[in-house]
Symmetry: C2
Subunit: 255 residues, 2 copies
């Protein structure tokens, strides 16, 4: 395991999930975990998620609060053809720019629709804020877009995922977060004092502790995270010395 080299900059992101249906409890979110894992893999740290309703004021407020605070803001949902799809207009409003039918977006949609199918309703999906770059959607053709540092994607998971793949090569990325996980078969309360000392001795490594109940067993997953492979390995070795000194049962874990 070599030292991670290259870009030392931390690249951060926030995600705005535009989803009345999630807030109402009708539909469980299906995108947050995927986006979190994808961004982690490419070296972007997801720092905050907000789920907001399909209301222009709420979307504008969230996007404007977040786009100055993080390198990138991703949004999902609300770019379809129906009356409740208001994300495009809300993003344009947040940036103070106009929205119009974009000939590039119409061209993209022609790959999926006959001309007769390109009704005024469907052409709502070709409305793109001024100054935005399109994000390719190989599945259903209507594109997402990137305006400034805000990346606007569909809410349907399969379409969101291809848009995320399309846009990822354009994004700045930083050092990838590395992690090690150890399952310790004692309750958190027993593991806590040692973990607290471990954290103090390894300040560059983020040490998380997650209790679990599995098959009637109470235990603790300890997750070590750091962009530096050597610091991570040192903390991992120290965790194992702690486990052996205490006589805990434990095992390196995938998750």
């Amino acid at each position: 395991m070599g030292r991670s080299d290259g870009n030392e900059e931390t690249i951060t992101a926030a995600l705005v999930v535009i989803g009345e249906e999630i807030l109402s409890g009708r539909t469980p979110d299906a995108n947050i975990a995927y986006i979190a894992a994808h961004l982690g893999k490419i070296g972007i740290a997801l720092r905050e998620v907000r789920i907001v309703p399909d209301l222009e004021r709420e979307i504008v407020t969230a996007v404007n609060a977040l786009r100055g605070a993080y390198t990138y803001v991703f949004t999902t949902g609300g770019i379809g053809p129906t009356h409740d799809d208001i994300t495009t207009d809300a993003i344009a409003k947040a940036f103070g720019v106009r929205v119009d039918i974009d000939p590039r977006a119409v061209d993209a949609m022609r790959k999926g629709y006959e001309d007769a199918e390109l009704t005024p309703t469907r052409l709502r999906m070709a409305r793109i804020p001024e100054g935005a770059e399109l994000i390719d959607n190989p599945i259903s053709k209507a594109p997402g877009f990137m305006l400034g540092n805000v990346i606007v994607m569909a809410g349907i998971p399969r379409i969101m995922q291809v848009m995320l793949d399309s846009v990822s090569p354009r994004l700045r990325t930083g050092r990838k977060m590395l992690s090690r996980s150890v399952r310790v078969d004692v309750p958190e309360g027993d593991a806590a004092p040692g973990l607290s000392e471990l954290q103090a001795a390894h300040p560059s490594v983020q040490i998380g502790s997650y209790p679990f109940f599995e098959k009637g067993r109470l235990g603790t997953y300890v997750v070590l995270r750091c962009v530096d492979a050597e610091a991570l390995a040192a903390a991992h070795a120290a965790l194992w010395r702690l486990i052996e000194n205490e006589g805990f049962n434990a095992e390196d874990s995938e998750g």
Copy 2:
């Protein structure tokens, strides 16, 4: 289906999920959908969710931004015994009150732990901000708490769920949101013009449109939501007239 009577007030809530492990992509959130559905059932409208890392500044900022904007703020996570459990202190800081070992919380924990097990580390879970009411935890005994309009619960789903049951009878509730859902077997783009007119004709009913791909079929779930049963029934009847006029295949749906 009778008219919902009683309290006309709208009771709102926000949820703050304190979860580094969710932002890192390690663990999918398992609480948002449950809380959204539970609150909807008891007559509290969930209006916003934020997922923030285990950092005091982020928790304080989110809680203080939300507790003035909504009737209630719920939090999940970060109230265990380990060094990364900082929610209790962050909430106290947000309110500017002290935190101390609370004798009521110690009494509650004695039901689950022998005296010898109540180590200083475990007693971290009995630290409660000044002025808070406890929330019973029949499973693992360490309580949650309610301070002002902020309800602080565990992150482990089973424990969060019993805490939510414990606290719910104390909360003000409003009219319950009622809903009807219809599966329409045409793409959103075909359903959109009619839905737009339907929304204009039934402004008190919130009309949501959710595209789906199921077994190779493209279609649209139309969800009607309203606190008033008569207005909901009128919009539902109008939706069915629209479906019949257009000759769409459709079916009333559970979801």
